[in-house]
């Protein structure tokens, strides 16, 4: 059956504060890195991506930072809102056999305290 006792890393943030979610990746050949948000009972939803030749990309209230030297990715959410509460997954894309293969990392649960 499903594993029990698995604990997602959890980040608790006060509403209005900034959130930073971190991720380590493994494949040096990955050419894109992606952040997904998953709310309870739903499938993952795309937030933002960054190409491997960039080190920063900004979206609406979100910024992704990429440090290829240490294989580290972070997602910054500005002015965190209750609707940001979800599990966040980083993912890496590699092109394999002419198609894209996306590998997901472990998630981080973001809890926004009103």
């Amino acid at each position: 059956g499903e594993s029990v006792g698995l604990h997602l890393p959890t980040l608790s943030v006060q509403e209005g504060d900034n959130s930073i979610i971190n991720c380590a990746y493994s494949n040096s050949a990955s050419d894109y890195f992606i952040w997904y948000k998953q709310e309870s009972g739903k499938g993952p939803q795309f937030i933002i991506d960054i190409r491997s030749n960039m080190d920063k990309r900004q979206g609406q209230r979100v910024t992704v930072l990429l440090n290829k030297t240490v294989k580290h990715l972070s997602l910054q959410i500005a002015a965190t809102q209750p609707g940001d509460s979800a599990v966040y997954f980083c993912a890496e894309r590699a092109r394999s056999g002419g198609y894209q293969k996306v590998t997901f990392g472990t998630g981080t649960k973001l809890q926004v305290i009103p």
């Binding site: 594993s3 894209q100 472990t106 998630g107």
Partner: protein
């Protein structure tokens, strides 16, 4: 337009039974992916279709798992002789043509929660 839909949303079955899980991708999306997600984990790749053909089935855990996409649209994931360890959420995603120089966003369905008793 409609997003990716999956049916059923929940499936409870007994050990040893056969199940079929259905995925309706976004119209026009040629790439279709199946993932399995266990509690507290990220989605794990199972199989990828480009059109009607399975271009990569390396993630299928064993030969009890099989998937088809006969007309290049709807896909069915089939699991024979289900085991308790198959219990998970099965996610389907679709995208425009895959493998280009830019990332083609994968749009996910809500998943089918499979429980094997």
């Amino acid at each position: 337009g409609a997003g990716v839909s999956q049916t059923p949303s929940n499936k409870v079955t007994e050990k040893g039974k056969y199940v079929e899980l259905r995925c309706d991708p976004i119209s026009g999306h040629t790439a279709l992916y199946w993932y399995r997600q266990s509690l507290g984990q990220g989605p794990e790749f199972l199989i990828y279709f480009q059109g009607t053909g399975a271009a990569d089935d390396s993630g299928l855990p064993n030969d009890r798992f099989f998937a088809v996409r006969p007309e290049g649209s709807v896909s069915t994931l089939k699991i024979q002789r289900t085991e308790r360890g198959d219990s998970a959420v099965y996610l389907c995603a679709s995208s425009l043509a895959s493998g280009g120089f830019t990332y083609n966003e994968q749009f996910f369905g809500p998943g089918t929660r499979l429980t094997v008793l």
